[in-house]
């Protein structure tokens, strides 16, 4: 593997407390040197990148993507989804298990993680917590852990039954990985296609109440408490795509109590409200749904005060013909890998004054820690050479037609973005070059 020199950039590496000019040398897929400007002058390298005026940061990590392979490759493949990831500055993604068939055995997990799937960036996966994600019988956590599972989830669906979730948390604690929960009490959301409230009433759509999310988060927190006191284990609950102020408040309290809870917020939930549905725009339909302004503001506040641990996209590609339907019939989900950084910088950095270092942390160091990825999420010497180089000040407009994803279902087509990715490097290979 050829050496790469990155000169004249501003290194933002929150895990190591660095926000300063640094030059980097990448060798054999690893970070070989991080030095003050000028020190590496004269080092021979196959490629030298001039990062003057640019941010050099750990490659972004997304703990929540849907890559649709196997089974729905007309929406996305591992190759196309990870190419979109690379274009968005991501060097690592974690694939959800709701493929067809569901990723619930070691053999399926190994097939997904096989190099012949041609991922453009580093791929990890969370297999199903229950067989077929049916919420009844746990999958083989030990075998799946050995095959590379970084957590367990029935994403797209909740683990609804108390005793099943309890068993999953216990088994995951023993395997030292999190259970990643899609918090939705589906008994309260049947037939619903958006957030409950005034907009849903006006549009004549059935709405999902806030309690459908918060009640499951509260239940899971009670289970954590029970397990800690009775089993002597310390399970890790990761709450996916938190969308309501109420669920976030429950997480805040649980953290204060000392329980091991982490959570993610999706860019659409800190950027948009249910007003974005407009006249039934199915590109604003996802689950959990866009909520009201006070919820959006609570997501921003949680990212600012640290209650929200990371940003995750819930990248969920769907074909055009699936979204060109009656709102209630269209599937949930939007693409997000190419717009996450642009929205985080626009809404949180420029809009809320959150530091670049915090944003980089929310999108690299923090998610790496949640799923315990050794050697990723920071750029210390010896770590993987996973790097994103971006122009933090650049303003641009997202054009869905240019996407690397196989699908274009985004509410951000034509939206203003802040911060342009110039290069993405994964384990020392340049996997994306921007202009």
């Amino acid at each position: 593997m050829s050496d790469i020199l990155i000169l004249n950039g501003r290194l933002v590496d929150p895990a190591n407390g660095i926000d300063a000019p640094r030059d980097l040398l990448l060798r054999n897929g690893r970070v070989a040197a991080v030095e003050s400007p000028g020190t590496l002058r004269g080092v021979e390298a196959a490629e030298t990148i001039d990062a003057a005026g640019l941010i050099v940061a750990p490659g972004l990590i997304d703990v929540h993507v849907h890559l649709r392979e196997p089974g729905q490759t007309y929406k996305e493949t591992i190759a196309t989804g990870t190419a979109a990831a690379a274009a968005g500055g991501f060097t690592t993604v974690v694939a959800m298990p709701n493929t067809v068939p569901v990723n619930d055995t070691a053999a399926k997990l190994e097939w997904m993680l096989d190099a012949t799937r041609n991922p453009a960036v580093k791929l990890f996966a969370m297999p199903a917590a229950t067989i077929g994600s049916m919420g009844v019988e746990l999958t083989d956590f030990d075998a799946l852990r050995k095959a590379g599972a970084v957590g367990f989830t029935d994403d797209g669906k909740p683990v609804l039954e108390d005793h099943v979730m309890l068993a999953a948390l216990v088994a995951a604690a023993r395997a030292e990985v999190p259970v990643s929960q899609h918090a939705e009490d589906t008994r309260l959301t049947g037939g619903c296609s958006m957030n409950a409230g005034a907009v849903a009433f006006r549009l004549g759509l059935r709405g999902m109440p806030v309690e459908a999310e918060s009640s499951i988060v509260e239940r899971d927190i009670r289970l954590l408490r029970d397990i800690e006191s009775k089993e002597g284990l310390r399970p890790h609950l990761h709450v996916q795509h938190v969308s309501t102020a109420r669920a976030m408040e429950a997480i805040r309290a649980a953290k204060r109590e000392g329980l091991h809870v982490t959570c993610e917020v999706a860019p659409h939930h800190f950027t948009l409200t249910d007003e974005a549905i407009g006249d039934y725009d199915t590109h604003a339909k996802m689950n959990p749904p866009l909520r009201v302004e006070s919820d959006r503001a609570a997501m921003v506040a949680a990212l600012v005060d640290g209650t929200a641990d990371c940003i995750a996209t819930d990248h969920a590609p769907h074909a055009a013909h699936e979204k060109e339907q009656e709102f209630e019939r269209a599937p949930n989900g939007i693409t997000g890998l190419e717009t996450a950084l642009g929205l985080a910088l626009r809404v949180l950095h420029r809009g809320q004054g959150l530091s670049l270092s915090r944003i980089v942390s929310l999108m690299s160091a923090a998610p790496a820690q949640i799923v315990s990825l050794a050697g990723r999420g920071s750029l210390a010497k010896g770590h993987f050479a996973d790097i994103v180089i971006f122009d933090a000040g650049a303003t641009w407009t997202y054009d869905a037609k240019t996407t690397r994803s196989r699908s274009r279902n985004t509410p951000f087509d034509g939206a203003e973005m802040r911060g342009r990715v110039k290069a993405t490097i994964c384990e020392g290979r340049i996997v994306y070059r921007g202009n």
Binding site: F201, G204, D279, Q325, E326
Partner: protein
């Protein structure tokens, strides 16, 4: 409101009527004027207006009044109509709304009248076909032509025939309309509550919490909620009754005897609270449930006139959709 109007004009064919919010007060006034003009026209003259034009009626839900009145309206204007229903077409085989619309367009349809159980379906059809689409009722969302015919009925009965030819923001000043019943599932209630206050009316929504959530107040200014039917009726110049939509209740449980006791418009209640109020119902009505038969048939009832106004107003909407100018 203005933002909606702007996006509408950019994304949907002129003449579409997808939501009552698409129409400004001036638009409503023009539609009423056109309605009146078409009514006074000689039938032979009227039947030349849309001669040779093709109108498709696409119905995914059953309908008596709306379908028949749109069809008769189109025919009286000389247009050719075709009816496609979900039960006797390729829709049954799984054809999408988009493809059904594109097929109708390929067959020469110049305007599609759509009734659909999914809220927002007319927006999909209008976006995908580029044709003018008239919303003939979409799920729990809206029924804009019903609101227009209700408006014409109210104007005619309260202010006389001649007053129904134009409106302004003050036309219904001092008029209180009580809409009672299954507001949650009612597209008629939404369209009326979005239209009537813009013409100066006060709209009181009345019904139990289960059928009338407080979010209904978000429909806009000029709308209020009153749970006590008698109290609401005492303020009413117009009492609009709605059917309980059993097909949309989706597991919601309702004590019908209690409902009848609290919300049925019957002769005693009418005499005690609103002896002069105009009685309206968009149909279909269930006599003995939300309304007593003798009230529906009584002298204050405008229910059959509503149907007649439907034919007239829908004629105007078709002329508008197909871009014909008629001298008013």
């Amino acid at each position: 409101m203005t933002e909606t109007a702007r996006t509408q004009s950019a994304r949907y064919a002129t003449g579409s009527l997808l939501s009552i919010r698409d129409l400004s007060v001036e638009d409503v006034s023009a539609i009423l004027g056109l309605t009146a003009r078409l009514q006074t026209m000689h039938p032979a003259e009227r039947s030349a207006i849309l001669a040779g034009r093709r109108v498709a009626l696409l119905f995914y839900e059953s309908s008596t009044r709306t379908r028949t009145s749109f069809e008769l309206a189109a025919k009286s204007l000389g247009a050719t109509t075709t009816l496609v229903s979900d039960k006797s077409s390729s829709i049954e085989k799984g054809e999408s709304l988009k493809d059904t619309g594109l097929t109708l367009r390929a067959l020469g349809a110049e305007c599609i009248i759509l009734r659909h159980p999914a809220s927002g379906a007319p927006f999909v059809l209008a976006r995908e076909t580029g044709l003018p689409v008239l919303n003939a009722g979409d799920g729990m969302h809206e029924h804009p032509s019903q609101a227009l015919l209700d408006l014409r009925t109210i104007l005619t009965r309260l202010h006389g025939e001649s007053s129904a030819t134009s409106v302004s923001a003050a036309s219904l000043q001092g008029v209180t309309v009580v809409i009672t019943g299954d507001i949650l599932h009612s597209r008629v209630a939404r369209s009326n509550a979005l239209l009537l206050p813009r013409l100066g009316a006060r709209v009181i929504l009345c019904g139990p919490e289960k059928l009338l959530p407080k979010e209904a107040l978000g429909l806009g200014p000029g709308v209020e909620i009153e749970r006590d039917f008698d109290r609401a009726l005492k303020r009413a110049q117009v009492a609009m009754m709605l059917r309980i939509q059993k097909e949309r209740l989706a597991g919601l449980e309702l004590d019908l005897a209690d409902y009848i006791d609290r919300y049925q418009l019957n002769a005693e209640r009418q005499a005690a609270c609103a002896p002069k109020a105009l009685v309206m119902h968009p149909g279909p009505m269930i006599r003995g449930l939300e309304i007593a038969g003798d009230v529906a048939d009584g002298p204050n009832s405008a229910i059959e006139e509503q149907v007649a106004h439907g034919l007239a107003v829908r004629s105007a909407l078709l002329v508008r959709a197909l871009g014909k100018s008629v001298t008013v």
